[in-house]
């Protein structure tokens, strides 16, 4: 077991940031903490990386206790905080050398681990970190978190504010690191990234709502979701919300996801209702639920 968390709680000024959280991450697993801003993800990261003390509960990382063995943990984990935390005034190469030196290693010693990522930023190795674009900064930060060959890698919202192309590349990098035996705990507000994890914990307001493999979380979802579409999307949302038996109405890309309260819901009735409201180009069909649907209904 790479990470073991038991009943960890933490309050700031009487406000509970996380409340009796427990979960385990297996060796070599890619585990995702999925939840919005304010859910408590960063607090969990800071406690597990020994930067913050919990009020209650216990936890171990790579076999070390987060309180007693905090020094050992700091040597065995890599941590990429949500906020870019490298030295803006140092160049790409200087940042990397600095982090290697701090951990008593060299770039050469563990070059194999970072090679795939580093070659993408190497052409700009003399550029100061502050002048890099978002995607490149993120790659440099990952290199710095990996330079001492950590057993466990903590990535706090590595893809927030990152465009879809860079996000895709980033997840491909994570998969490759996982194959090299590194255990990864990653958090994200992007629900589509949840599907790329081995297991996920859905977290909201300081509590874990569900832990499972992404496909099981989707499989366990009981309600039927309908994709609804019409020419005037804004009016469609308004009218669906007025439909007497509506349970929820949410925009989902091209379609509106509609859930009805009644088990004997008949799509033809809804179709008639929308026609009466003068909608055109109406489409109603059964949809495949996503992690985001499940999350929103928790």
């Amino acid at each position: 077991m790479s990470i073991q968390v038991q009943n960890i709680s933490k309050s700031y000024n009487k406000i509970k940031a996380i409340d009796a959280i427990s979960f385990e991450v297996n060796d070599g697993e890619l585990f995702g903490l999925i939840g919005p801003d304010g859910a408590g993800k960063t607090t969990i990261f800071r406690i597990l990386t020994t930067l913050l003390l919990a009020n209650e509960g216990s936890a171990s990382v790579a076999g070390f206790d987060i309180v007693k063995d905090y020094k050992a943990i700091r040597n065995s984990v890599g941590y990429m905080p949500g906020k870019f935390s490298l030295y803006q005034d140092l160049s790409v190469e200087e940042n990397l050398k600095f982090f290697a030196a701090i951990f008593g290693t060299t770039i050469e010693e563990n070059y194999d681990l970072i090679k795939d990522i580093y070659i993408q930023i190497e052409p700009y190795k003399t550029r100061r970190a502050r002048a890099l674009s978002g995607g490149m900064k993120q790659k440099l930060a990952l290199c710095c978190a990996l330079i001492h060959k950590p057993k466990v890698l903590f990535l706090d919202e590595p893809t927030t504010g990152v465009d879809p192309v860079s996000r895709k590349e980033f997840w491909e990098m994570l998969k490759r690191l996982q194959q090299k035996g590194i255990t990864i705990l990653v958090s994200t507000p992007y629900m589509d990234e949840a599907a790329l994890c081995d297991r996920i914990a859905l977290i909201q307001k300081g509590s874990i709502l569900k832990i499972d493999e992404p496909r099981n979380i989707i499989k366990d979802y009981q309600k039927i979701i309908y994709d609804v579409k019409a020419k005037n999307r804004h009016q469609l949302i308004l009218d669906l919300k007025k439909y007497p038996s509506q349970y929820s109405v949410f925009a989902f890309g091209e379609y509106i996801h509609y859930i009805d309260k009644n088990e004997d819901f008949n799509a033809a009735d809804l179709d008639n209702y929308l026609k009466k409201q003068l909608h055109t180009e109406i489409e109603i069909r059964i949809s495949n639920p996503t992690i985001e649907d499940v999350f929103m209904d928790l």
């Binding site: 465009d163 879809p164 860079s166 895709k168 005037n232």
Partner: protein
């Protein structure tokens, strides 16, 4: 969200959108030394339109947007925003637009009320008008119990909804939203978009950037910037047809490349 249920409007938006140009961009260019961040881009945005401005990190979106809101001078080319030249009439540009971003929205150590008063003042609203607007926002966003709370203590989603309303205090013709929903929870993200729809229905033009590709589907038209140029500009439906893919995410992955500036 109560706010917009009261403002039902039964005119289909897309049909009603008259083709009055509110932003006109011609060969707009920005160079930093030898590096051209924005390469002669041209496009128009129409009144009441929700215009999605997409691109990879480093594609030149922020630079282009800065020129349009009058805080960065173009190297060459023209842009008219609400009829005002972004080179020579930046003060009128700023008066005609609202702006909010994920990074800067309001002052954390002022209360909600103080922020509204402050921004109302900045935009030159009279005291009576500020009072009226404050009351209106309290009603619409149901802030009765929290008006005297520090903005810093609010959840991100709340903050973003509030700062959208603050960006609209002076009833601008266009509002620029720079990644307004980054990190916001899925439900609040959708409520935010419902506010956007309601505002666009009133005729306000929305110019928005996002990295959520499901949100790209909510725009009337989308432009995708790649390495300083606009690589594609059309409705989400037409873009998907053109590239023969099922989602805007796939369109984006086909077009955008993540390239570092030289």
């Amino acid at each position: 969200m109560n706010l917009w249920q009261e403002k039902d409007c039964f005119v289909p938006r897309n049909d009603n959108m008259n083709k009055e140009k509110i932003i006109e961009v011609q060969n707009l260019t920005k160079q930093f030394g030898n590096f051209t961040a924005v390469k002669s881009i041209s496009f128009d945005v129409y009144k009441g339109e929700i215009f999605g401005f997409l691109g990879a990190n480093g594609a030149g979106k922020t630079t282009a947007m800065k020129m349009l809101i009058g805080i960065s001078k173009p190297t060459s080319g023209e842009a008219l925003v609400a009829g005002f030249d972004v080179k020579t009439n930046t003060e009128m540009v700023k008066k005609s637009i609202g702006y909010m971003s994920q990074k800067f929205s309001m002052y954390d150590d002022l209360t909600i009320k103080e922020n509204i008063t402050f921004f109302g003042g900045i935009y030159g609203l009279s005291k009576a008008r500020i009072k009226e607007k404050t009351m209106q926002l309290v009603e619409e966003l149901r802030l009765h119990d929290s008006i005297d709370k520090l903005v810093g203590s609010l959840p991100l989603g709340w903050k973003q909804k509030l700062s959208f309303s603050v960006a609209l205090l002076h009833e601008p013709k266009i509002v620029f939203l720079d990644e307004p929903t980054g990190g916001v929870d899925p439900i609040t993200r959708r409520q935010f978009w419902e506010m956007i729809y309601a505002e666009a229905n009133k005729g306000t033009t929305i110019f928005v950037t996002t990295h959520y590709m499901d949100e790209a589907e909510y725009c009337d038209r989308i432009s995708i910037m790649v390495e300083g140029v606009i690589e594609a500009l059309d409705s989400p439906k037409n873009l998907k047809n053109k590239y023969n893919v099922a989602s805007m995410n796939d369109v984006f992955l086909k077009l955008a490349r993540n390239v570092e500036s030289p």
